[in-house]
Amino acid sequence: MKTSIRRSRRAATAVALGSVLALTATACGDDGSGGAGDKGDEGSGKGTITFWDNNGGVRTDIWKQIIADFEKKYPDIKVKYVGIPAASAQSKYDTAIQGGGLPDVGGVGTAVLAEVAVQGALEPLDSRLKSSSLNGKLSQNLIDVSKSAGGGDTLYQIPTSANNGTLWYRTDLFKAAGLDAPTTWAKFYAAADKLTDKAKNKFGFTIRGGEGSIAPALDAVYGQTGITSFWNGDKTTVNDPKNVAALAKYVGLFKKDTPSADLNNDFTKMVAQWDSGTIGMLSHNLGSYQDHLKALGADKFKGIPNPTLDDGTRVQISNPVDGLSLFKSSKNKEAAWKFIEFAVSAAENSKYNESAGQVPANTEAASAAWIQKSEPTQLAAAALNGADTKIVQLPYYLPDWNTISKADNEPNFQKLLLGKMTAKEFLDTLADQLNKAQADWKKNH
């Protein structure tokens, strides 16, 4: 019995020691310093900087190429790449702002820029840009969107890419039905009707009814009415009677010309459904180009910007602009800024956007040969900079924008599709929330 007691003591000691050693061995992390209150330092312009990619995984390969090019040019600077899943980028930033551990440079899209900037985490970039080799080489439209999304006149983000709402359509189905490309709203509705044959499970359009439904709906609404401003004084134009009628017409497509399962469509389901089925048109953005290409091949589909009014005027909402921000807490701002400058230079920005299938922010990159070969990107670039295109600037600068456009109103949009709410009720509710958020924002600015 004594032997067994000794054995059990040894076992208990071994377990305890093992646990302690295991924990000690794994505790070789860092201290995660650098929260919102940290003012950082310019640093020596050498050493290691950390970069958070807000679309990690999908863009990892291209960022690693850019980082390799950068480290070749600046051998004294090392870039530590951290890929963050796109859907979790905002919560990762929010936690690091509160708890510490912010990076030196991070990908921050306009959809979350206001929320990060308002917490004092970002370095103003106006003066750095003014004295940089990038000055005058970035699309002024995108700089304006970045400034507006940051909540005022200060630039907190150097834009890298613009996305654009794109109407993808199946050229094979259009040809078989003898239809013209859906370049105008009238042609869009006619095609949606003609391509629908419910008995054969064929539909003209797929509508986004689930997560992310508000922006495409607003794109369709403003595109049809031609109203070019989101605000009329302090009140939003979103519930203008013309917009109400346009929304009612748009949601009228649900179940008539779309699958009934569209009620829960987020972009993943919507794109997968379009890529593998017999649906005529899909309203998404340039980001799904590669998915369509892989699934359908280049000959079976095309992508065009939002349809125009009959007079050729195109009105579309502003799409989120992706970009790079410098964090105030960085201890090596000089090196971090060098990385931003390099990543948005013509050659690297072109390379990045070719991979992402988006419109480059660097105007020299925008004339690259690959854009001339990629029709959807070329058309999007032309639309974004075209004289006939009017862009309705969505209020990304409102700290409540994400809550209003997602949690508060996506369930209402589903009620609207199901006929449990009218288009007027839906837009009046949305307008009321936006007007209040705008009034609050104006009080503080």
């Binding site: 067994s4 992390g29 979790s88």
Partner: protein, 294 residues
């Protein structure tokens, strides 16, 4: 006494007839009334899994409803290009370490709760129960700050500790239930034979707790294996990420590679399925045994 014994005899004599009655009633039910609902249920349950297999094994761009011609390209992509090999190793490490720590600490705590009386025992049990109502997201910032002070950000140890801490309350409650089901007289007999408390526990009680330990351990492993939030927040290096974070990186802001996502999903699910296949017998016994006395 006689009147009390008689009904007992009647019960004994009637007892063997009951299964026959049940069998007859079972025989009277048309088979389709059993198999059709079961079949419908299985179809609803298995179709999503079939779609995952379909997307994982059929070539990109194929619209075939069967995974033929079969390809392993998506698996190769996630395992090598998307570093799932590394994520898998990290997840195994986090899962196994959480399992061991949770089981060892819950065993000690559960024993104390089951065998000792102390003044704040009821309050302590209530606190353990209440801790189950606190979502992990609420504690992210304080945990982040604690781990930052301990220089443990970007270390797998931070995730292991956080997972263990969140697993412990329920595990302790369950294990204390299992230990209460073991008669204390067995331990006392071992004491009489010369064992001290620890030896009696190891020799007499521990073998009887096997179903409970398997239930608690597997629960801790599966939870740590699937948990996304702590790994996302406390780890930064790609070489230290776990499977759930890796799966999320397969879903871009505007683009999803469904083949790779399905293959990644299978890689993530296989260990859990294997664990459950081996332990399901003990798992059910374990949870039901722990549920008898709380």
């Amino acid at each position: 006494m006689i009147t009390e014994i008689a009904p007992a005899r009647e019960r004994e004599s009637a007892a063997p007839q009951q299964p026959r009655k049940v069998r007859r009633a079972w025989d009277e039910v048309p088979r389709w009334q059993i198999y059709v609902p079961l079949g419908i249920y299985l179809v609803f349950t298995l179709i999503p899994f079939y779609w995952i297999l379909l997307f994982a094994f059929r070539p990109a761009g194929s619209t075939s409803l069967v995974p033929w011609p079969m390809t392993f390209d998506h698996f190769q992509k996630v395992w090598t290009e998307r570093s799932f090999g590394v994520y898998f190793q990290n997840s195994v490490y986090v899962g196994v370490a959480t399992l061991i720590l949770t089981t060892v600490v819950a065993l000690a705590g559960g024993y104390a709760l089951a065998r000792f009386e102390f003044r704040i025992k009821r309050t302590f049990m209530l606190a353990l129960l209440c801790s189950q109502f606190v979502p992990g997201a609420l504690l992210l910032v304080p945990l982040f700050q604690i781990f930052a002070k301990l220089q443990m950000i970007n270390s797998l140890g931070s995730v292991i500790i956080a997972e263990t801490v969140f697993q412990l309350p329920l595990s302790m409650i369950l294990i204390s239930g299992f230990i209460r089901n073991v008669p204390q007289s067995l331990e006392e007999a071992a004491w009489v034979d010369g064992c001290n408390r620890l030896a009696a526990f190891r020799i007499v009680v521990l073998p009887l707790l096997r179903p409970g330990l398997i239930a608690v351990g597997s629960f801790a492993f599966v939870h740590a294996w699937n948990h996304f939030l702590f790994a996302l927040m406390f780890l930064s290096d790609q070489s230290k990420q776990t499977i759930p974070v890796g799966l999320n990186t397969l879903m871009g802001a505007d683009s999803v590679d469904l083949g790779a996502l399905a293959a990644g999903g299978i890689v993530a699910a296989v260990p859990v399925v294997i664990v459950f296949a081996f332990i399901q017998k003990w798992l059910i016994t374990g949870f039901s045994a722990g549920a008898v006395k709380g």
